[in-house]
Structures are given as C-alpha cells and as structure tokens.
C-alpha cells in the first residue's frame, strides 16, 4: 500500500513522515506541492514544518497549492488523510477540518514531550490504540492553540470527533485541551503533536506514535 507525503516549500517533517510510513511496512510516495494528482496513493499525510515560512498565518498559503485540490477531492470521497502540526493547520485552512490554530497562550514556541489521551479509536489512524490510552509524543509548535466557534466545539465533542486531548497540562491554551480532531466522516485527522517523531525510542521519547501509522495500514488493507 502507498502513502503519499506532501512536500511544500518550507515543509520540514516530510522525511520523518516517510520514515514512519516505512516503519509501518508501507511504501512512502513523495508528493510535490505542484502535483495535480495523487500518484495512486491510498492515503495522504500532510506533514509538519513552516510551509511558505508561515509568515502570513500558518497554512494560509499552502492550502492554495495545486496538490491540495486532489487531496480535498479524495478526502471528501473517504481517502484517509492525516495532518500533523503544520499539516493540521493546512487542513483547517483548507476547510477539511473545522476550527483554527492560533498563537500559543505563552506566546513562545514550545518543544516538549507531551502526554496525549486517545479519545477516538474509530478513525483509520487510531484503531490500534485502546480508548483512553495515554501516549507520549513530541509537541513542537508556536501556533498550536486550537480555537473554534462554541457551536463547532460542542458539535465536535458531541460527535466524538475530538481524537486526541492533551493530558498532564495544556501546553498552548487549546480549548477543551484539544490536541487533534477529525472530519465528520472520521477519515481526515489532524493533530498538533508529532507521532512521526515517536516511532523509535532511539530518536524520540517513545515509540507510541508508530501505532498511528500501523493503524492506517491495517485499516486500508481491511477496507
């Protein structure tokens, strides 16, 4: 199975996302921001970084890249899509996920090993976790505060669409400690922390993130 990993100018964690895909025994396919089709992949990861420098607003310019149109189309048809950090911001800007990410309440960039609670294990990216499981993965962002209209937040909570919640302290002022959410059909997931940096205890704090990529492979194969 093939998982596409998009590179925009300024993307940083594409190599890490590709490595995580390989660790889950799938093939990583590099997608370029200028691509107009998805090269036959079964799922797409929009990785972290600072696309276009994130000078205007995180993800604001990347969402207009040519590759985003086929991503939006495929996601609407049910292709699994994962947005990590800047990728989450891009998916929000592109309207695939509700809400927006804003400046951390501390006003500082924060890089730390962060505990998360897995709240929804039905998405293709989280089936391998037990509900309520606590995992530790790196968080590293300056604009990670999740915000949305109250009605949107209520809807997300009511429909179980909060996928990850910060545990052991809210690092950025996100409403309801939200660390990650999913689309109405559950196929598109976005989160601020970086599971792709936690696939091997040699280079990350844990290997707790690997199960996300293994979940995907299982879900796609089962489908």
């Amino acid at each position: 199975m093939k998982v596409g990993v998009i590179t925009f100018p300024g993307t940083l964690d594409d190599v890490d996302a590709q490595r995580a895909v390989r660790y889950a025994d799938a093939e990583a396919v590099a997608l370029w921001h200028g691509d107009t089709d998805l090269r036959g992949v079964d799922a797409v990861i929009v990785p972290g970084g600072f696309s276009y420098g994130d000078y205007l607003r995180c993800g604001a310019i990347a969402r207009f890249a040519p590759v985003m149109q086929p991503v939006v189309d495929a996601a609407r048809k049910g292709m699994p899509v994962l947005g990590i950090c800047n990728g989450f911001q891009i998916l929000c800007e592109a309207g695939l996920l509700p809400g927006a990410l804003t400046r951390n309440s501390s006003l500082h960039f924060v890089c730390r090993d962060q505990w998360l609670r897995v709240e929804n294990t039905e998405t293709p990216w989280t089936t391998r976790y037990e509900e309520g499981a606590e995992i530790m993965v790196p968080l590293k962002s300056g604009e990670g505060g999740y915000r949305a209209q109250k009605s949107t937040v209520d809807e997300l909570e009511g429909e179980g669409r909060v996928v990850f919640r910060y545990a052991g302290g809210n690092p950025n002022g996100s409403v309801n400690d939200i660390a990650g959410v999913c689309s109405a059909n559950g196929r598109v997931v976005g989160l601020m922390p970086h599971p792709e940096h936690a696939i091997d205890a040699l280079t990350g704090p844990t290997d707790h993130g690997l199960a996300m990529f293994k979940s995907l492979v299982e879900s796609v194969v089962a489908a």
Partner: protein, 601 residues
Amino acid sequence: MTQLDTVAHAAETPDTEQPFRELGLKDDEYARIREILGRRPTDAELAMYSVMWSEHCSYKSSKVHWKHWSANTTPEMKAKMLAGIGENAGVVDIGDGWAATFKLESHNHPSYVEPYQGAATGVGGIVRDIMAMGARPLAVMDPLRFGAADHPDTRRVLPGVVAGVGGYGNCLGLPNIGGEVVFDPSYQGNPLVNALCVGAMRAEDLHLAHASGTGNKVILFGARTGLDGIGGVSVLASDTFSGDEGGSGRKKLPSVQVGDPFTEKVLIECCLELFAEKIVVGIQDLGGAGLSCATSELASAGDGGMRVELDKVPLRAKGMTPAEVLSSESQERMCAVVRPSDVDAFMAVCRKWDVIATEIGEVTEGDRLVITWHGETVVDVPPRTVAHEGPMYERPIARPADQDALIADTPDGLTRPRGEEELAATLMRMVASPNLASRRWVTQQYDRYVRGGTVLAQPSDTGMIRIDEETGRGVALATDCNARFVKLDPYQGTQLALAEAYRNVAVSGATPLAVTNCLNFGSPEDPGVMWQFEQAVRGLAEGCKELGIPVTGGNVSFYNQTGTTAILPTPVVGVLGVIDDVRDRVPTGLGAGQTLLLLGE
C-alpha cells in the same frame, strides 16, 4: 545623482578626498591600497577593501598567532582532515565514505543591537557556511553568554536572542542539539551569541570555494540584495564607522539585517539538489561583506580572474550605488561557479525551488577582478590583495599588571557552610542560581526532534545525531568554556574548555576527532587582552596536540567590551566525535539498579 566613480575617473582625480577613516581604514592601510592599485581606489574599491580588511574579515590582529595551529598539528592529526583552517568550515573523514563538517561563529554585536534578528541571522550565516562545503546542514548548537540574570537589559536581550535562535533554526528544520547559557556581569553590554552548525556529506561531494576554469559562469542565487547592514561588518567589528558610504548622499542606513528563514530553507534544498546533480564547480556563501567577500574570495582561490556585471544583481531597493551593492549584507544569498554547459540545468533547479538566480559574471584569464556597472569599470583589483593579503598586525602583548593580584585572591578566604542546615541552604542557593538553574525555558523553545536523527540533545551534555540510517553511524558534539577559569589562567583555562568538551563527547560513547572554536575577546588594541588571546590560542593548540585531534576551523570576535572593560575572555571550544553506531550511545542519567563508579582522582 553624483558622478559614477569609475576606475578611469579615479585615475584622473588622484587628489579626491576619500572617507577611508570613517570606513575603518587606518592611514597606512589606505596608503597601501593606493600602492597596490597605483592610483586612488574608486568608491566601490574602497568599500571592498575597507570591509575585507576589517578585523572581522581579515583577522588582522589574530592571524600572526595561527602559527600555533600549524606548529601543533602532526601528520597523524592531519590524516582525517579533508579541509581545515582557511576554508568556510573544517571537514573530517568520519568513515564509511562520510565526511562531517562543523564550525562555530559569533554574532555578538548584532545581537545586542537587535537581539531577535541578530541571533536569527547568526544561525543563518553559519548554516550557509556549512552549505558552502557541499554538505547538508544537520543540526545547530548555541553557546550563549548574557549579563546578570536580574539586570533589566538582560530581559530585553535574552528572550530576543533565544526566540531568534529558535525562530530561525526551527523554521530551517535543523534540530538544536545543545548549547550553553551563562550569566556574568561582564557580558552586560556585550552578550555573546555563538552558533554552531554541523553537516554531513559523502566525502567525494566536498566543495571548496574557488572560481576556476576560464569561461565558467558566476551565478548569484537566493534573496534579492537590499540596503541591509551596509557597512555592518565594519561598524560591528571595529567600532569606528559612521554608516555613510561616502559621496552617495544617502542618510544613515540600517546596520541591522532581517532574516528570512523560509528563503534559506528553500536555498538549502536547492543547493543540495544542485550538488546532487554535480553542476557546481565552486560555491561561496554571502555573509558579512556580501558580494565584496564572495567575489574576491572565489576569484582569489581560483586559477584565473573574474569579471562581474554588478548591475545585473537583482535589487530590492531603488537607487543603490555599486559600493552599496558590493557591501550589502542581505541574507540568504549564495554565489556559485558553473560550467557554461550546466547553466540551463542550474537555472532549472533554481526555478523548481522558486529561487532567484542570475548570471552576474564569469571566470576570466589573467588575475584581475573586474567589476562593471552599466558597462563602466568601477573595480579593477588583484583579488588576493582584497581577500587574502590584507594587513597583519603584531599587536603588543603584556600580561596584565593586576593578574597576580587576581590569582592571589583565592577562595580560601570565603566562609564555608557548616552543619546540615547551612549545607542544605547552600545547596538550595546553588540550585536556584542562574548559572546552575534549569535551562528548560531556553531549550523548550528549540525543536530538537526535526529530521528524526537526534539521538542525544538536552539534558545531555553532548548532542548526538545519526547520519547514516542503515549503519547507525553518527556524530557527537559538545561546546564548552568556563570563562572565569580562562580569566585566571588563559592558557590552562582554554585547555580546560577543550578537555571538558572532549570528555563530554567521549563519555557519550563517541571518539573525539576534531576541534572548532569561537574566540570571544575584548579589544586587540589592549595588550592585556592580546596576552589572554595569545595564551588561549597556544593553550588550545598545544592541548589539541596532546589529545591528538586537530583544530579544523573557528572564528575570532574581538572588541567585546563595554567602554574599556573587556568581557571575560571566552574561547568557546567545540569538539566533534564519531560513533560507529548511535545505538551504542551512553545516555546521561542513572537507571535503577545501576552501579556508580568514580574514575580518576
């Protein structure tokens, strides 16, 4: 618009007064330029010489002491060194066909003026040095020194510097794998912002900065050239510069550069693709001294001359003079030498990354660097005289008169804590003291995970990154300097800095291989400072010989002082080691059930 000061015009008007003193040149230096050229320099030539002959670019006060490096480098020490002092950064063979390159550099004065941008552009500059060797930059470190932690100005400088190091490094996708934060009142008006970058490449991909092959094209690529930091290098490194370029009628220009890390990130990827396609003959980063430096150094290191059409340089500001274009310190620019047959391929790679690239000249026969402006010659110089044959000074050296008194004032007179309670209170005070307290406020603003190769970073005393995912080969780095020891005994204090960095690398499981340094001192015109400097260089060189690892490069930052009071002498030493398999690293910290052994006395 004043008349363009061409070479012909300069020859006709030998008596024109020139503001060489305002540009930081001494009378004899100016006389020497006239002697070299056989006429007065043009404005553009004066700008070039003044910036390239500044302390910062020419090492005019320190160069005579480099004899200690060569005197203490044995053939065995040289064996693994692929590039050494004189290149943009040192390169060492780390086995399996891999080469690692690393260097420390200072951006002290700019970071005091504008902490965020000063620190950010400091990171940007050292990263381009590593790129200019043909390597992929892999990680950064940031040894920092600030004034007293509770001084109001430290509140301005420290958060800005840390945000700048983080803002730039995080956006480039370079993990920050270590550094230092030290507080001492001597740095109050003069914080130290040193930055280290380490990179790696296949040994055969090593690129050296030279322009050879007559007919090869000179291509400037990256950001546009603006009025940033015009004369910055001189004003920042030599304290006597008024900021005006002389005769151009411009008001005082900013000596501050603003960094654009996104442009640099794209430039990195673009360069790596150019290297991979093997279409770069020579490459040079544009740092302090901008195009003055890049063109003269490329030409000087090559086997011919060079012709540059300066008006082709893409500009950001209107009405810039040739002298300004040559001196601009606009960031995120590189200069490459490319075979004519590869120019199209070169441009295609740049287009892919949306990087502006412009052919500005070519390598010529002969040995002159000729620069034209809309067809008229404004520079015609032997490039070596600009880049490599600047002035050299034997500054007076004298052990400070108060050194004995300083040493005599031992800690023996201090009261010691007695009894449990006093000991506990002392311990609490130490733990809470700024120099021993947790560095988390700083380190958590730095991404240490990006690229997935970081094996050790904070809280370890050594940073370690994996270079080869198949074999696990990696490098370890530590930077250290206890400047109070150096003040007491610059020779031994510097050796202690070396020994500490060496030990930190060794205990991580890596084998130390090479040394870089950033020598931060006061004014070289102060004989006491020069004594510290000479002792430090000799100490480091002889220490390296003892340990069997060479100094491969470094940086000198003089004039770090407030008024006449110099900072503590701060020769920061960086040691790089190699580890065959990073899985064998030794992490810091104890596990349950482990036995604690003390080695040594």
